[in-house]
Structures are given as structure tokens and as C-alpha cells.
Amino acid sequence: MEDEAFTDINGKAIFLDCQSHSSFCREFTVSSPKVSIGKVMVYTCSVWLLAYAVFFFTQNTAVLSSAILITLVGMMLHIHFVKVDHESLLVIGSLGIQVSSSYASGRETTTFIEMSKIKDIVINEAIYMHQIIYYLCVLLKDPSEPNAVSSVVPLFQVRMMHNVLISQMETCFWKASLHLERLYFPGKASNKHIVNHSILFLMNIVSLSFRVQSRG
């Protein structure tokens, strides 16, 4: 597992770790490398040089102090809200999944999605900034309307490349099953085509426990 190099959509390396706690419980952790000191230096230096250039022409010391402030606040905000240290996905059979991401500052956010709300886990394709990417997401359903999708929750903040998603799907999810042509919307007959075709392609990954649940 570890010898395969994974990258995110920007070509940076990420690491994927799969742990099996018990036959019902698995955890996947995606971690990205720490902020390199070089990068911090480059950003800091460029802001300070710019500030010094402005100071040189305006002779206003407020520019320098504000530059220091900007770098400090910027760095803090970056590590607190942007820079994700690692994210983990805890799948507990018949209970649900827990998604937690911890930021470089130590802040941690955790969401739990209970089994009855999960419709499926799929790879979707979407336009993200100026790129078109694949991403892993959970489809939620409303218990009152079991056939419709009520919302879509993307799973990882670190956008992984497709091959990561697939290898994850194939090697980690135990007994991952690709059942491509499952029909989600038993609506009108005429819809079937369109819906079937569109869904067909969102490669499904549903773990065994999910299926046991749906059978029960």
C-alpha cells in the first residue's frame, strides 16, 4: 500500500493509510505533508520585500508593521482554516461513517453520518475552480423519501486524483462491489434510460455492511 505514491489534484504527494480495527470497523486516513519551511520563507520574504519596496517610496513605517501583521495573521488563518494535516474516514458497519479532518493548527472537525441516512458512496465528477475533477462523496437520503437523493457530501478536503480514489475503492473497502447498473430512481419508465445512464457511470462503492443493511 505504502509503496504506491499518491498525489492530489495539484500533483502534491499524499499518503493513504488503511486500518482495520475489527471486521465491522475500518479507518482510512489521508495525510498531506507538513508545511515546508522553505515555502513559509518564500511567502514571508515576498510580502516583506514588497512592503519594503512600498516603504522605500512612501517612507511610511506603518507599511512595515502592517506587513508583519499580515504575514502573522495570514499564517495563522492558513494553518487554522486551510491547511489540512490529515483526514480520516471511519466506517463502522451498520452504524454509519465518521469523517474527521484535523488542521495544521490542531483544530479538528468531526461529522458523523448515520447509516439510515446514507444512500451510497460514489465517485462524482465536477467542475472545481478551473479544473474538472473526480471526487468521492456520500449521497444522503431523506428517510421519508428513500429513493431520492437529498444532498451530496464530499468526503475529503484534500482532493485526490482519480487513481487514488479507485485504488482506495478497490483495495481498501472490504468486499467493495461495483454494481454499476443499480437503478436509483424507480420513477417513470422514460426516465430510466437517462437516469440509469448517468448513474451507471458514477462508480459505486458500497461496503458489505452497507449492503447487509439495505437487505435487512
Binding site: T7, I9, N10, G11, N124, E125, A126, I127, Y128, M129, H130, Q131, I132, I133, Y134, Y135, C137, L139, A148, V149, S150, S151, V152, V153, P154, M161, H162, N163, I166, S167, E170, L178, L180, E181, F185, G187, K188, S190, N191, H193, I194, V195, H197, S198, I199, L200, F201, L202, M203
Partner: protein, 513 residues
């Protein structure tokens, strides 16, 4: 299935360097192309260009090519969607400026279009419609990226007024690099060659097609105590609605059993309403408003005569549909119309009220005396004239020819632009081409081609999409249109569209939470 998928996944990181990618895939799949259709106009917008792109794509998929479509986002419909047979549509979030055409800055569409071309391993970019800014942008970017291009022109243009002069200049620049141009009629070819100062050698004529199985005659729907003239067109100036406003009172006065059935909507509706009001013709002139494609046949079969009053037309689909339903066709002699139908199936008139009235009266007299051919015999003659499969075959030949051509390097491209488009415009656009190239280099540095995901093929030789085993192939041509119609009209589609929207909503909408 899983194995193949894994193989594809393993290959992803190794397939480096996209400039080499497309060429490889051509060699591997010998003469199967990866085509990207680009136009501002695609469903849910309705019109001739839209259905042309859809039908052509479906037939090319059937022939084993890989086809994707890129258009701009329509309202909430943005992102990636799949249509029948795995036809993939990218609704890119580009700003719409005027008349469903995107704003052209020559640059802002490059990142997304590059992403589409690279991840889909496109070999031929096929742009549609000269009104579409996105199509021109795509031609420009494709050349910068070293791809072969084809352009289909769907409309005729004048030469005299300022707007035409400007558009023609832009077209000259845009088509200067394009490998091959397709026009829908010989008139349109002449027009395009003159407008864009092209070498006629690289311009092909491939007509539009209609689906004959959708337009079958049904004489029982006609009312025999009257003669009904059907007009189906958008009610705009170009379609000669003012002429129609002149014809209606004149003929209604002479023939008390004459009825008009007019389908379509547009700014000129007011002209017809005034005429109806003025001459008290409410019971004889029925304005049906906007018609959905599936309802068109139902209106056509109620009539005896189909009237087309267009002032300009590259290739008139409506008269073929009319004739296919077994109607007598009366039309103005403009643009490419004389080429469309054999002489004995159409009555051509000058675009004046008098000439059209004379033509209509001649047909009405023939209709009364019963000396017109039966609807079934007209349908039998028309049904094989224009088919989408034929269009796809001919387009395929264009792709085969284009795929073998070399793409000009930047320096030769610049020389060509300056030699071809005049010193001023040529220099300006040569400069723009250089900027575009630099922008591409920047993007390639920011997001190298090799880190971009390769999309999984849904069509073409390496598709992972299982075709349903049914008699679909036989009924394809018929089915395609029907499905297209379903797609765009039935409530069913809207229901499923909203469901799809839930699936395929753009990522950034969810990014906030």
C-alpha cells in the same frame, strides 16, 4: 470490469505528456477519433444547431467514436451530465453575454477547455455555429494546444452592414487556422467561402437531416371541408413574418375555406395578431404559440400546404419536415432552399407578397382539383433524402482527412495569420495567439497535464459503458429523436433533471459546508 478499471487506473499516472497522448490514441484505435463538439448552443436551449449536434453525436457514437460535448452552463445546469448512450456533456460555467452566446475575451475559457481536451484525450475539436463565441474560442485554443479542428457553419450572413463586416472579419481570423469547414448547403458554402476568404477545397457540404420516422403523414387528421396552410417558424424578421402578415388577408378574402395554422413564438407575433384583429379572422387564423418538437408533427399533419416565408436560410429543415408529413410545400427562393427538395415537391416563389400569393393560389387550385400526389407518395420520396447516418458518415470522412493533417507550429501559424487576415487584424490576432500560447504555458506549469485525471471513456473504442442489448440499434435513429424530444420536453425529463442536478451539482456549491 474491475480488472479493466484497475488497469486503467494504473495506467493513469504513467501516461505522461498530453501532447503525445492524442496521437497515440489515434494510432491505437485506427481511425476512431476522440471528438469534442463545442458550441454555445446545446440543450436545454432549443433549435436547429442543438439538435444537429445531438443527432450527429449519437450517430458518431454508434459508429464507435468517442464524443463529448462542451457548452456553457444553462442556469442551474452546470457541471458534467450524461445523455443517452453515454454522451457526455460539459456545462462549463462561462459568463453568458448576449443571446445565449458567451462573452469572448479569447482567454478566460482556456483553463476549462484545456481541461476538457486533456482529460478526454481529444483529437478533433468540432465547433458549431458562427454565432457562438465559445466555438471560436475553442478553435483558437485547440490550435494553440496543437489539435486539429473542424467548424460547421449553420447560417448565412450578409456583407453590407457594419455588424456583418465585423463578424466576417472575426470569422476570417477564426477560420484561417481551421483544418476543415462544413457547410449545410452549397449556398452556405459560397457564402462562407466569400465571407471568410477561404480556400474552397477545405469546405465541404454536408446537409442537415431530419428523422423521417418522426414525420409521417396522417391524412385522416385533415379536415376536408377546408384547406389549411401550416406555418411553423420562429416569429422573427428573418423568417419573413411581415410577408406572412401581407399574405393572410389577401388569400382569406379570396378563399373563404382557407385556414391558417401558425406555430411558433417571437417578437413578430404582434404583426400577425394585428392582421387577425383588423380583418376579423379569429376563427380562421390560429396562433398556436411556441411548439415543442414532439408536437410539431401533430400540427403538420392537420394541414394541406406548408408555407415557409424565410428571407434568409442556409438549409431549411422545416420544409423537409413538412414534405415528409406529405404536405405541399410553398417557399421563398432564398439561400439554400432551392437545393433542398426536388423541384416537383416544392413551389418556389420570390420573397414578395404578390409572388407568394400567386404560388399559393396555384397550389390551392391543384389541391382542389385533386391533382396533387398523395401524402404517402411524397413521404416515400422524402424519407431517404436526408438521414443522420448519412450525415455522420460524411462527417466521419472529414474527420479522417483532418486527423492526418499536421498542426502548424506557432511561428508558421503567426505568419499565416498575418498573410491571411491583413496587416492590422493579422498582427493583432497574431499577438493574441502569442498571449494565448503564453497563457497555456502558464497553465501547464501550474497544473501539468500529467497530474490531470484522465476521464473514463463512456463512448468510443475503450468505453466502459455497457450497451444495453436490445433492438436499439435498429430503432436507433428513430429512438434518438424521440428520446431527444423526451429529454427536452416531457415532464419526465424535468423530474430526472432535478434528480441529476442533485448528483451532478458543481463541487464548489458544496464546498462551503
Amino acid at each position: 470490469m474491475g480488472q479493466r478499471r484497475r488497469a486503467a487506473a494504473v495506467k493513469n499516472p504513467s501516461s505522461q505528456g498530453v501532447s503525445g497522448g492524442p496521437a497515440e490514441s489515434v494510432r491505437v484505435s485506427s481511425r476512431k477519433h476522440n471528438i469534442c463538439m463545442v458550441s454555445d448552443f446545446f440543450y436545454p436551449n432549443m433549435g436547429g444547431v442543438e439538435s444537429h449536434i445531438y443527432q450527429l453525436s449519437q450517430c458518431l457514437i454508434e459508429k464507435g467514436h468517442k464524443v463529448v460535448i462542451a457548452t456553457h452552463a444553462y442556469g442551474r445546469r452546470k457541471g458534467v451530465r450524461y445523455l443517452t448512450n453515454g454522451l457526455k456533456v460539459y456545462y462549463l460555467p462561462l459568463q453568458v453575454m448576449y443571446n445565449q452566446s458567451t462573452a469572448t475575451t479569447c482567454f478566460h475559457s482556456l483553463p476549462l477547455l484545456r481541461c476538457v481536451f486533456v482529460r478526454e484525450r481529444i483529437t478533433v475539436v468540432h465547433a458549431h455555429s458562427s454565432f457562438s463565441a465559445m466555438a471560436h474560442d475553442a478553435l483558437f485554443h485547440a490550435k494553440t494546444m496543437g489539435l486539429n479542428t473542424v467548424f460547421t457553419d449553420h447560417s448565412l450572413f450578409g456583407f453590407a452592414d457594419v455588424s456583418s463586416v465585423l463578424t466576417n472579419k472575426l470569422l476570417t481570423v477564426s477560420l484561417c487556422d481551421t483544418n476543415h469547414i462544413v457547410c449545410v448547403s452549397y449556398t452556405s458554402k459560397e457564402n462562407t467561402v466569400l465571407r471568410a476568404a477561404l480556400d474552397p477545397e477545405i469546405v465541404s457540404v454536408i446537409p442537415n437531416a431530419v428523422d423521417p420516422t418522426d414525420f409521417t403523414p396522417d391524412p385522416s387528421q385533415r379536415q376536408d371541408d377546408r384547406i389549411t396552410i401550416v406555418v411553423i417558424s420562429r416569429l422573427v424578421y428573418r423568417k419573413g413574418i411581415d410577408l406572412l402578415g401581407g399574405i393572410i388577408p389577401e388569400l382569406c378574402l379570396k378563399h373563404p375555406d382557407l385556414h391558417f395554422l401558425i406555430g411558433g413564438e417571437g417578437p413578430k407575433r404582434i404583426v400577425l395578431e394585428e392582421v387577425r384583429e383588423k380583418y376579423q379572422l379569429h376563427d380562421r387564423v390560429r396562433l398556436l404559440g411556441a411548439l415543442e418538437h414532439k408536437d410539431v408533427r401533430g400540427v403538420l399533419v392537420q394541414g394541406h400546404i406548408f408555407l415557409n416565408t424565410s428571407l434568409t436560410e442556409a438549409f431549411c429543415m422545416a420544409i423537409v419536415e413538412g414534405a415528409s408529413c406529405g404536405l405541399q410545400v410553398v417557399s421563398t427562393r432564398v439561400g439554400g432552399i432551392p437545393e433542398v427538395l426536388p423541384e416537383d415537391l416544392i413551389t418556389l416563389c420570390e420573397p414578395t407578397v404578390r409572388s407568394l400569393c400567386a404560388g399559393l393560389e396555384a397550389v390551392i387550385t391543384r389541391q382542389r382539383s385533386g391533382s396533387v400526389p398523395s401524402p404517402a407518395s411524397i413521404h416515400a420520396r422524402v424519407q431517404n433524402l436526408y438521414t443522420w447516418r448519412n450525415v455522420a458518415e460524411r462527417t466521419e470522412k472529414v474527420y479522417d482527412r483532418v486527423a492526418g493533417e499536421e498542426v502548424l507550429a506557432l511561428d508558421r501559424r503567426l505568419q499565416r495569420l498575418r498573410a491571411h487576415c491583413g496587416p492590422v487584424a493579422g498582427s493583432i490576432f497574431a499577438f493574441v495567439a502569442v498571449l494565448d500560447f503564453l497563457f497555456l504555458l502558464l497553465l501547464q506549469w501550474l497544473v501539468p497535464d500529467r497530474v490531470m485525471d484522465v476521464a473514463v471513456d463512456t463512448t468510443g473504442p475503450r468505453r466502459l459503458w455497457r450497451q444495453e442489448k436490445s433492438s436499439k440499434n435498429e430503432a436507433h435513429s428513430k429512438g434518438a429523436t424521440r428520446r431527444a424530444a423526451e429529454l427536452h420536453h416531457s415532464d419526465g425529463f424535468h423530474a430526472s433533471a432535478s434528480v441529476l442536478a442533485a448528483y451532478m451539482m458543481p463541487y464548489y456549491l458544496y464546498d462551503a459546508d
